[in-house]
Amino acid sequence: MMPLSHSNPSTVHIAGLSHSGTVRTENEDAVYWWHESDQDICFGILADGMGGHKGGALASELSIQTIRSFTRAASEHFQQSLEHLEKIMAAASEAANEAIQQARAEQPEFKDMGTTLVFIGIWNENLIILHAGDSRCYLLPSPLRDQLAQSNRPAYTQLTRDDSVVQSMLDEGVITPEDVPNIPYRNRLTNALGIKSPLVYSLASHKFSEGSSLLICSDGFYQAVSMNDASRLIYDQGVNQKTVEQLIQMSLDNQTNDNTSVILMGFGADAAYVQQAVPSEKHNK
């Protein structure tokens, strides 16, 4: 598959990988991306399932399949507006929410399953992020080369806010970020796909500038890797499969205790650092 060509002059480069990690034997994370060529929309999904046994893996897989088939069908009637794209994405996520809830109701062994979701849509210069749970999306703005050379701390912005107990505690100021790794309830989510009906999600749209990139990751990644290290690597090496593999390796080297997954998206072919994009349909180790 060729690099996903975006409407002139920009190009979207996507690479991603999911790994079961150093502790778990089963991978409940899933990553997926595709390009609706007729409408020229790029989609990317990262889902981190939960619910024990086979439930977690099923929930993430189910959400991806449902969202993809729903989005494909709905995109055919795309009205070339940002609002309509948002509607399509929200409806697709709602359909996935229902699919998971149905599976929960039908099969007792899946009664606790659910999944986090980061669902990205890119159209023209618009970036839409639909989010539920504690997987994250970071924006790495287009670097001015001089700035990058001077600064030791590359800039990045977290575009999503975790739906977690810890985040609520942080927001209330009862704990500090230094407390986070020790909080007994650090893994407890306050929202996810499959848990509530109707689905509760956050939806945000951004304009992106050429040369900027997105890092989408599961908690197994961001709990093990500092964003400074990750963003520096991305700035140095650009958006490609090798960078993704190195990012995953960083989380494995840091003994991540969960499944670890990353999707990188690069906007525009700044040849200086986006060397080559090798998108694949799905890469699930």
Partner: protein, 585 residues
């Protein structure tokens, strides 16, 4: 299933047949061959021919010649004139033999059968009598007999005009003997080794069994010979495995035994009981994959074949399900004491996580085992079996204080003070031993109303299982009684227990928890940042001391709570004396 069992039968049969395949079988087969075939191979008859040629007189020689001629006639069309003349000559001289007579005329008709029977008898003797130890004597006997047979054959021909071809018998006797002798040397060595292995394995198996080790026992037993002793050991092992709930292993042991001896004791009955129980369990496993605790409980309760055990304790019945796992009523058979056995299933944990959990569980449980206080549930023993850890403790008649937490079911205020005083004293004792409970709450306090007695249960261990579970595991217990520092994941000291005891006191007095919220994040935030309502706002009849004590115990700042549990106990004692005029020991 039936196809499988047929396959098993077939392989058993092959195995048994293979067991028959020894050198003795070959000897018997050779004898049968010689006894049955009408025409023996020529090379075997050669000896008889030679003996005849050596021994026979002229007339007898002619018979052999006749025989030769008759044989030749089959292949030649032309008849030699000389031969005809010879034949005519014989007739003319009035010889008793006619030209068509052969050596067979000298052989009595019974001989044919007798010779063949004797071959079989010899085979039988060789197989049954030769055990390899007969050595030189037997070789003389055998060679002597063979020689005698040949001499007998010669003299009968020479002097009695009888032709009894015993050459084949003699050859068979010698050849078979040589083979047996040769083979037996190896078999004897093998047998010696096999017997030695049997003895060693049997002893080893018994030792393992005595030590309560189950790994490798069956493999060891499989190396033993199928003696009664082996079968007894296998049976005992299978019973033991059954008791330990290692049903698969028990089934393999019973199957092994049943293959050796189908009628051994009640092995068939046990095997079929276990197999049907196994099928039921498989069904349950499929149904309840996501309920490891329930599954484990089912495994213990549903087997009727034998009273299950955990360690040395006999499991009598299930008492309930705790945060860690199922709790059973057990009996220590050595001293006939009833014990409550809490189990913690390992199934819900992954490798490195499990190692850490086990390490912590045993460390904490052993520490708790050192506590000896009238208001602390005594821990007798900790141990583990394949897939779970267990802790055996004093079995207390009574119910947990959960039962008295609702506004309509509250205990008298003075009783609540008495209970909290006793718990505070127990905590004071434990904290002095550097042991923190970590999870003081009504459900961990067991109360016996008749005896007015309360005991603190689960010192140190209550939170372990919870804290080790990740998001993908099970729902972690509610933080209702947790101190703010615990919620922050900070190092916990005795003052955390004081906070939790304050929350328990609050609830036993009012029927309400100090902090309530619709969801977990809200609740944790309230515990960390909001002040609770005064107990007198909920129940105005309470004495002022109730407000004072609960507020001090529930202070967000550990340094502003009671400095230690003894200080809290002292406050309660004073309040009991002042507010209730109660005599306090």
């Amino acid at each position: 299933m039936s196809a499988d069992s047929k396959k098993q039968d077939l392989s058993n049969l092959i195995h048994q047949l293979y067991g028959f395949y020894t050198i003795k079988t070959l000897i018997l087969l050779a004898a049968l061959f010689l006894a049955i075939v009408p025409q023996r191979p020529f090379f075997l008859q050669h000896l008889d021919d030679q003996i005849f040629a050596l021994t026979a007189n002229e007339a007898q020689q002619r018979l052999a010649a006749n025989e030769q001629t008759l044989q030749d006639e089959r292949s030649f069309y032309e008849v030699n004139l000389e031969d005809i003349a010879d034949s005519l000559g014989s007739i003319m001289t009035g010889d008793i033999f006619r030209s068509s007579d052969t050596r067979e005329t000298l052989t009595p008709s019974w001989f044919l059968i007798a010779e063949r029977l004797s071959l079989l008898v010899i085979a039988g003797l060789l197989i049954s009598r030769l055990n390899g130890s007969s050595g030189r004597a037997s070789s003389y006997l055998i060679l002597g007999s063979a020689g005698s047979l040949l001499l007998l054959q010669m003299s009968l021909l020479r002097f009695s005009n009888l032709w009894l071809p015993l050459g084949i018998t003699a050859q068979y006797l010698v050849a078979a003997y040589m083979v047996v002798l040769f083979q037996l040397r190896f078999e004897r060595e093998c047998d010696t080794l096999r017997l030695a292995l049997h003895k060693v394995s049997l002893a080893h198996g018994k030792l393992l069994q005595e030590q309560g080790v189950s790994e490798g026992v069956l493999e060891t037993i499989e190396q033993c010979l199928p003696t009664e002793e082996t079968q007894n050991l296998t049976y005992d092992f299978a019973r033991e495995q059954e008791k330990r709930r290692q049903f698969e292993s028990a089934i393999s042991a019973y199957s092994f035994l049943s293959n050796q001896n189908k009628r051994f004791k009640d092995v068939q009955q046990r095997l079929s009981d276990l197999r049907s129980a196994e099928q039921r369990r498989t069904k349950i496993t499929q149904q309840q994959k996501n309920h490891p605790q329930a599954l484990e409980a089912t495994m213990i309760v549903s087997t009727s074949t034998q009273m299950p055990t955990l360690g040395r304790y006999k499991i009598e019945r299930e008492l309930g399900r705790g945060a860690m796992g199922t709790v059973y009523l057990g009996k220590d058979p050595k001293i006939a004491r009833e014990v409550a056995i809490k189990t913690m299933s390992y199934k819900q944990f992954d490798g490195p996580q499990l190692d850490e959990l086990r390490e912590r569980f045993f460390r904490e449980a052993k520490a708790a085992g050192r506590l000896n206080h009238p208001n602390i549930v005594t821990v007798y023993d900790v141990g583990e079996e394949q897939d779970l850890a267990y802790i055996a403790m004093d079995y207390i008649e009574g119910s947990s204080l959960d039962a008295y937490c609702r506004p309509d079911r509250l205990l008298p205020v003075e009783t609540v003070y008495q209970i909290i005083l006793k718990v505070a004293e127990a905590l004071s004792y434990a904290h002095k031993q550097k042991i923190v409970h970590r999870d003081i709450k009504p459900s961990n306090l067991i109360y016996n109303a008749q005896q007015q007695q309360v005991k603190v249960s689960d010192f140190g261990i209550a939170r372990i299982s919870d804290e080790s579970k990740t998001r993908t595991g099970h729902v972690m217990g509610s933080p209702i009684y947790m101190s703010p520092e615990q919620l922050k994941g900070r190092a916990v000291t005795g003052t955390a227990d004081i906070f939790s005891l304050g929350a328990t006191f609050y609830q036993l007095l009012t029927g309400a928890t100090p902090f309530t919220a619709d969801n977990l994040p809200e609740l944790t935030i309230k515990i960390m940042s909001s002040k609770q309502k005064s107990v007198r706002d909920i129940r105005s009849s309470l004495p002022a001391s109730a407000v004072r004590i609960t507020n001090k115990a529930l202070n967000k700042d550990p340094d502003k709570r009671f400095a230690n549990a003894e200080e809290m106990a002292e406050q309660i004692r004073k309040a009991l004396a002042n507010d209730f005029r109660a005599k306090v020991a």
